[in-house]
């Protein structure tokens, strides 16, 4: 079941989910993202790699307009989700975020019970008609977050009482509970042990069947294992974007090559 998903054969066939053109991001006077063009395909995992501070998180947060919450942040350019410009004044970012879910770098469960953590999204979006349906969503999401077995007996214990890795899987479960179309993950495994990491990677691979997943990672191996497409960022520029296999075996840009071989970072 866990195949190496680098088979480049299925890359071309997928439809474009998000297309970003000419994106510029400024934090006040700092130009954090410069001229980035990326096409993110449906039912596929796209990995963002690059040295620390190169703007991976920043760009990821543009895709669900989380940057709106930062006062000094300014985004320019076009980002389209299914052909609709998400920065159009008519777009309500709240509606957008229901479609484009996010898992953050640091696990941030709500200080509520495990159950309520998962149920919160479905509740505010009216995804469940009754308690039984909600229970079902919670169980399904926790299973997909690969944490069900660990928490099924203490669903009403506080989510913040879990270990860091469990919390992160809880956050992943929370993100999938609202049935988003795109899932953005910002270093989801940075707090996880190898076993939990493997579980999350397996999960990402499963999610690929239904969603488009974008993952930021510092681990080349992880990018190679889970993604079909990889984007390499450097100092706010998108240096290279292509099929994962090609980026890791035969990068075009010397900067990409030195990064993946460990010379910049």
């Amino acid at each position: 079941m866990y195949d190496t998903p680098n088979a480049s054969a299925d890359v071309a066939a997928k439809a474009t989910k998000i297309s970003a053109k000419n994106v510029q991001v400024y934090y006040g006077d700092t130009h954090a993202i410069k001229d980035v063009d990326v096409e993110i395909q449906d039912k596929m995992v796209t990995a963002f790699i690059g040295p620390s501070g190169c703007g991976k998180s920043t760009f990821l947060r543009c895709l669900n307009r989380m940057n709106d919450t930062i006062d000094v942040c300014r985004v320019e350019g076009d980002i389209n989700l299914d052909g609709e410009n998400i920065y159009d004044p008519k777009v309500d970012p709240v509606q957008l975020r229901a479609k484009v879910g996010m898992v953050f770098q640091k696990p941030n469960p709500f200080p509520k019970s495990i159950y309520d953590n998962i149920a919160y999204g479905p509740r505010i979006h009216g995804l469940a008609k009754n308690k039984a349906e909600l229970d079902e969503i919670v169980e399904k999401s926790l299973r997909r977050g690969a944490i069900w077995e660990e928490v099924k007996d203490r669903l009403h214990a506080p989510g913040t009482g879990l270990s860091g890795g469990q919390q992160q899987r809880l956050c992943i479960a929370r993100a999938v509970a609202t049935e988003p179309e795109v899932l953005l993950m910002d270093e989801p495994c940075s707090a996880l042990d190898p076993i939990a990491t493997a579980q999350v990677e397996e999960l990402i691979d499963e999610l690929r069947e239904n969603y488009s997943v974008v993952i930021v990672t510092h681990s080349m191996q992880q990018a190679a294992r889970v993604s079909q497409k990889t984007a390499f960022f450097h100092l706010g520029n998108l240096v290279e974007f292509g099929e994962t296999g090609q980026i890791f075996t035969n990068p075009e840009d010397p900067r990409t090559e030195s990064y993946i071989t460990g010379r910049i970072g």
């Binding site: 669900n64 989380m66 879910g101 953050f104 200080p111 999204g121 505010i124």
Partner: protein
């Protein structure tokens, strides 16, 4: 510092190579460091001790001066309610009864005490019943009259009364007044105290707990023995109600808007600076503002708890806003991100996640703001809540807000201004009650904080 020329391996200091030291012996640097630490701790302990010393002195002096206010001297005596004096027509008509003023009742008490003294065979130089008047409170006839008006059928009978003693007698019982100190007092003679001593022996004069001090109303300058803090407590209560109902919702709403929604620009910066400044504005300034705006401009009634509450609201708002904003700020931003990330709106994020986490801080700030307002006197000076003699319990809620009243601190201030030393004692007693309220509020704040903080 270390010997650079010696080829010692990294990490091992020169001291190891040259003179091997034992872990049991302190070297010079450690000694110096430890001495500095000890000195610092000593300063801290000294500072705290001084603080505790003054606190204890303060508390002891408050309690010592204030406790006497909680007891009061009464004279127990059977009074013959003479029908010939109280109801000349003899038909117990309430209107007729009402015509007899307190002046008609006073002699009855004089006679009753004089009779009791003579019956008991006490030795006294006084020959007239009227001489007994100095021992009873000027409020005693009214007490009798109220009783008779309420129970007209008792006229013509002899009824046991517990009559309030005059403040001099009370002072004598409490040791405040002595025979020497009344040598030139034309209200009372040392001979009265001789009589009181004997009445204490017979059990007719006793000091009992003074509920009237806690529940009663203020009295005129000449009757300190009758004065209580109860009515001004009601005044304070209605003011606090106004403050709570206005400043909590306004303060919390303003803080949420400023903290979570308002754009950060020059204008909001200006507002922020001004709120901090408002918190530092002397309270009397709020008083004069209240006088100008609420009384002179809006024509709200003077001395009313409603106006007092409005003024104190102005004063409390900055405190509440500042503490609410601080507790909103203390909620980690990752919680907001998490909520927004699953598609909650900003308002949902705030009300579902941020506010519950900030609630204990908000509550604590509110209670502390209320406690501050409860103890505030200066602004009330200017809107006429001081100097007003609060003799009536307001009848009904509306009257509670609108009819003139005082407040606890204003009442205390008022008492401390009055000449009679008996009022001085009442002022301290009032302070004890006020402090009890403040302590209760602060304890509630602490309990709330303990209970809700870090619940997860």
């Amino acid at each position: 510092m270390t010997d650079a020329s010696a080829p010692t391996p990294i990490g091992s200091g020169a001291r190891q190579g040259k003179h091997a030291t034992s872990l049991y012996a302190e070297d010079a640097r450690t000694k110096k460091r430890n001495a500095a630490e000890k000195r610092f701790q000593a300063y801290g302990i000294a500072a705290i001790s001084i603080g505790i010393f003054f606190l204890v002195v303060l508390l002891v002096s408050i309690v010592r001066s204030g406790i006497p206010a909680f007891t009061q001297t009464f004279i127990e005596v059977p009074v013959y309610l003479d029908a010939a004096k109280l109801d000349k027509n003899g038909n117990r008509d309430p209107d007729d009864l009402r015509k007899v003023s307190t002046f008609g009742y006073a002699p009855l008490i004089d006679n009753a005490i004089f009779a009791a003294v003579q019956d008991a065979g006490l030795t006294t130089e006084f020959e007239k019943a009227k001489d007994m008047r100095a021992m009873i409170s000027a409020s005693a006839p009214a007490q009798l009259r109220d009783y008779v008006l309420a129970n007209p059928s008792e006229i013509g009978k002899t009824v046991e009364f517990k009559i309030l003693a005059s403040s001099r007698v009370d002072g004598y019982m409490k040791g405040r007044v002595t025979r020497e100190s009344v040598a030139r007092d034309k209200n009372i003679d040392a001979a009265h105290f001789d009589l009181i001593d004997q009445l204490v022996e017979t059990g007719d004069v006793e000091r009992t707990f003074n509920w009237d001090f806690i529940t009663g109303a203020d009295a005129s300058e000449s009757r300190p023995e009758q004065a209580g803090i109860g009515v001004s407590m009601i005044g304070s209560f209605f003011m606090m109600l106004v403050v709570l109902c206005l400043s909590l919702p306004i303060g919390v709403a303003a803080s949420i808007y400023l903290e979570e929604f308002a754009p950060k620009n020059r204008f909001t910066d200006l507002i922020e600076v001004n709120i901090s400044n408002l918190a530092a504005v002397p309270s009397i300034v709020f008083g004069i503002l209240g006088l100008a705006v609420f009384i002179q401009f809006a024509h709200l009634p003077q001395s009313a708890p409603l106006v007092g509450g409005l003024v104190l609201t102005l004063m409390t708002l900055p405190t509440i806003i500042i503490s609410t904003r601080a507790s909103l700020k203390a909620v980690p931003p990752s919680i907001r991100d998490a909520a927004l990330g699953v598609g909650a709106s900003k308002m949902q994020a705030v009300f579902h996640h941020v506010l519950p986490l900030a609630a204990p801080g908000i509550l604590t700030g509110t209670i502390i703001g209320l406690a501050q307002a409860l103890g505030e006197t200066a602004p009330l000076l200017l809107i006429g809540m001081v100097g007003y003699i609060a003799t009536n319990v307001p009848d009904g809620i509306a009257a509670g807000f609108l009819s003139p009243n005082s407040s606890m601190p204003a009442q205390i201030y008022e008492w401390s201004k009055r000449a009679d030393p008996a009022y001085y004692e009442r002022a301290w007693g009032g302070i004890i009650i006020l402090l009890l309220f403040l302590m209760t509020m602060n304890i509630i704040a602490i309990i709330l904080r303990r209970r809700f903080e870090r619940r997860w």
